[in-house]
């Protein structure tokens, strides 16, 4: 028996893809999960996820009302965590989403419930995508174990070999348990739905801006993952102030983002422009940026 809040129609028919992954996600992982979720929804795929913080939350951060597409959230306890409750109410009210739970509302949160719900999540999905995972012992992931038991195909997003948050997904791919996917396009190709080209719009990339050489040198060193200031400034303390200033200039130009004092490139689809203007990019993703 399942309890549901919202429109059950959201969980019926069509292709359903589950997106899951670690709670302790990296910024890049969340970004990827959010883009994948939005692109899949735009391609008419229903996104199934668990509303847990980290990857799962990012995947379903689709903008509360105007967002197209359908979502199914399978939760361990209804209306938990408190912040997720807002999403549940908003999403359910639009008729485009449904929250499912095995237990009647109001039960206490317990660790096993969150693991147990993965089996429902897997049962609903045509494909399970793991975006980031720390544990290289892949059997430890409840979703992976459930998918392998039920024969649901698995996909994983590989990451840098030394990235802690990609250790699990890399292991999945290496062991041959999962297909390697990079984005929504690869996922759509796997499930055989939607025009892949449309979903690829999120990989537009930033057009190389014309910058004075000093700024260009710093900009070239920025990537999608945040880097500490002293790594950008090079050895010694003398260049710290100058580098910090150049980074602030890049930020004012809308090219860099200061994440708790570490710096990365601004992603047009993910970050709000510092002037408050919305730049080219999907409305959905911009709204998502505002939510965090």
């Amino acid at each position: 028996m399942l309890f549901a809040a919202g429109s059950l129609a959201a969980a019926e028919g069509g292709v359903q893809v589950a997106i899951t992954g670690t709670r302790a996600s990296s910024g890049a992982g969340e970004e990827l999960a959010a883009a994948m979720g939005a692109d899949l929804r735009a391609a008419g795929v229903t996104v199934v996820s668990g509303l847990a913080p980290g990857i799962e939350a990012a995947a379903q951060r689709g903008g509360p009302t105007g967002a197209p597409g359908r979502d199914v959230a399978v939760v361990g306890v209804l209306a938990h965590p408190a912040a997720g409750r807002r999403w549940q109410q908003q999403r359910a009210a639009t008729g485009r989403g449904v929250v499912l739970c095995e237990l009647p509302p109001g039960g206490p949160a317990a660790r096993w419930r969150f693991a147990a719900r993965q089996r429902i999540l897997v049962g609903l999905a045509d494909l399970v995508v793991v975006v980031e995972s720390h544990d290289p012992a892949v059997e430890n992931l409840p979703a992976v174990a459930a998918a392998r038991r039920r024969g649901v195909p698995l996909a994983a997003v590989p990451g840098p070999q030394r990235a802690a948050a990609s250790a699990g997904t890399n292991a999945l791919v290496a062991a041959g348990h999962a297909h390697a996917v990079r984005d929504a396009g690869d996922v759509l190709a796997l499930v055989g739905a939607g025009p892949a080209s449309r979903a690829r719009t999120s990989r537009s990339g930033t057009p190389a801006p014309v910058l004075p050489p000093e700024l260009a040198r710093i900009f070239a060193r920025l990537g999608p993952a945040p880097v500490p200031l002293d790594e950008l400034a090079g050895p010694g303390e003398a260049a710290l102030g100058r580098t910090a200033l150049l980074l602030h200039r890049l930020a004012a130009l809308g090219l860099a983002v200061d994440e708790h004092g570490w710096w990365r490139r601004r992603e047009p689809g993910r970050d709000r422009h510092p002037s408050g203007r919305q730049t080219a990019g999907r409305v959905v993703a911009t709204a998502a940026g505002r939510l965090r």
Binding site: A83, L240, A244
Partner: protein, 531 residues
């Protein structure tokens, strides 16, 4: 003073008075020891709120008198410690009690006691032993010649040269006062030359350029510093390098600090050499050990760090009560301790340096590397209240250093593959710090103590600098209070660069040097942070 009067033909009343001092907090208070000897059953009573150590002094005094070949009066002896309403403690009253007793029954000429004050504990063999707090005690005997234990002579002479006399035993006192001998010569000074820097050289810190810079700015401006980073990245190493960058204590400040350390019974060598204190209590420190307390109102670590650095490693592991107790002295620069019987105000103007992991596993500075449960992470970060974090002008996140910088050649050689310059040694950086401090001195105070109106006057911002700050405020990344703190740090950075005006480069660096607060704030935020 001696008065013998035959009030009755049968009773002889003898009274003697001797000046002494006892310790309250870090101050000496004058005590007058009065001894009254009357006919009656032999007894010895101490009145005037003595503590256990003072009550026990009867047995020490008796043994010392007897071993020195002096008489113990077989009469009714009353010792009063005036002012009698104040609680008195410590063994430092042994010597004055013994001297007053000798005077009261005529073994010492009372006239010779005028203008003298006595400090010292007695051994059973009649030797005079040092007591903690010699400096403040001698100070409270101002205007008198202080007779102090020979072992404390150096300490006392440092604050009151010329008006202290050393004695090694009770017999010395008797020889001088009764037989008219000269005061014993001062013992040969045992003060060691200032040892090499005990805390290590900045040259040993490889990589960590932001951290090294933060320590330099902290030293130049007196700003409180917080280091956030994974275990083993060099937080403690950096923090212990700070005292070496600080300028030597001034003459007045050295006396003040020496009095505090003397009151705590700590060795004074480094302080008298002008080295600022560096206190690093273990993170299990209790509130009263940190702030001060106990029956005798002993100074706590914040007071012992007065004029120097208080280093708290593993800040998030320090008990919450101790952490919150820090806020008041951080603000006011002093601690007012009040107990039922006594009260004392202790100075506590120190520079706080703290180090902490960002989360229980320690890896939380890099998103995605942390293995903690999100609620565990939030709980850890919330141990540091926003009110406490507000006191840190500088908060930097440290990453593990680049391996190639760790395995670079020995000091004096460039790192492997010619990577980067040799890390600057403490002496070089200290020179810059001293120059920056001189600029601040001309303005009258440390940059850390600059506030709103003073900032407008001494830290005018260039157009670009105010633009940068405004953009930050508009983006919701900086509060009004934080703007003032950034400006104070930017002033210090400008001082280090020898610039008059605070430029946008200085502000940008100041912003980078406080970014560690955002990491902790993000960890303490709602679990997951995504909703």
């Amino acid at each position: 003073m001696l008065r013998a009067a035959a009030t009755d033909s049968l009773e002889v009343v003898v009274l003697a008075r001797v000046d002494a001092a006892h310790l309250v907090g870090v101050d000496g208070h004058l005590v007058v020891v009065e001894v009254h000897v009357a006919n009656g059953l032999p007894s010895f009573t101490v009145v005037g709120l003595p503590d256990a150590a003072v009550r026990e002094s009867r047995d020490r005094v008796r043994a010392a008198l007897v071993s020195s070949g002096l008489r113990w009066p077989q009469r009714r002896v009353t010792v009063n410690l005036a002012p009698s309403g104040e609680r008195k403690g410590g063994p430092g009253l042994d010597l004055p009690i013994a001297v007053a007793l000798l005077a009261a029954h005529g073994d010492l000429p009372a006239g010779r006691l005028e203008g003298l004050g006595f400090i010292g504990e007695l051994g059973l063999d009649g030797s005079v032993r040092p007591v903690p707090g010699t400096i403040p005690l001698v100070r409270s005997l101002a205007g008198r010649t202080a007779v102090v234990p020979a072992a404390s002579f150096d300490e006392a002479a440092a604050v009151a040269p010329g008006q202290v006399r050393p004695v090694a035993s009770l017999s010395d006192v008797v020889a001088v006062l009764r037989e008219g001998a000269a005061w014993p010569a001062a013992p040969r000074s045992r003060r060691r030359p200032a040892a090499a820097l005990p805390t290590g050289d900045l040259r040993d810190v490889r990589g960590q350029h932001l951290g090294r810079r933060a320590v330099e700015v902290a030293a130049a401006g007196g700003h409180h510093l917080l280091l956030v980073g994974p275990p083993g990245c060099g937080k403690t190493m950096l923090a212990t390098r700070l005292p070496g960058l600080l300028p030597a204590l001034g003459e007045d400040q050295m006396r003040e600090v020496a009095a505090i350390w003397s009151a705590a019974g700590l060795p004074l060598g480094d302080v008298l050499a002008g080295r600022p204190p560096f206190r690093a209590p273990h993170h299990s420190v209790t509130a009263s050990a940190l702030i001060g307390g106990g029956g005798q109102l002993r100074p706590g670590e914040v007071t012992l760090a007065h004029g120097g650095v208080l280093f708290l490693d593993e800040l998030a592991e320090v008990p919450a009560g101790s952490l919150e107790a820090l806020r008041e002295p951080l603000e006011s620069g002093q601690v007012r301790l009040v107990r039922a019987g006594t009260a004392a105000t202790l100075p506590a103007r120190f520079q706080l340096v703290a180090a902490t992991n960002p989360c229980p596993c320690g890896e939380g500075t890099v998103r995605g590397a942390c293995r903690c449960a999100d609620h565990g992470r939030a709980r850890y970060a919330r141990r540091l209240s926003a009110a406490l974090l507000d006191r840190f002008d500088l908060a930097v996140v440290l990453a593990r250093p680049d391996p190639s910088e760790l395995v670079g050649g020995p000091p004096g050689q460039t790192g492997r593959g010619g990577r980067g310059p040799i890390p600057e040694p403490t002496a070089c950086v200290a020179e810059r710090v001293a120059a920056a401090r001189r600029r601040a001195d001309r303005r009258g105070r440390l940059n850390a103590h600059l506030d709103g109106p003073a900032l407008d006057q001494v830290a005018p911002l260039s157009a670009g600098a105010s633009e940068l700050l405004l953009r930050r405020v508009r983006g919701g990344r900086l509060s009004g209070r934080a703007v003032a703190r950034v400006r104070a740090v930017a002033r210090t950075i400008a001082d280090l660069a020898g610039a008059v005006e605070v430029d946008e480069e200085h502000v940008a660096e100041a912003l980078a040097l406080r970014s560690g607060r955002e990491v902790l704030a993000a960890a303490a935020g709602p679990a997951g942070g995504g909703w």
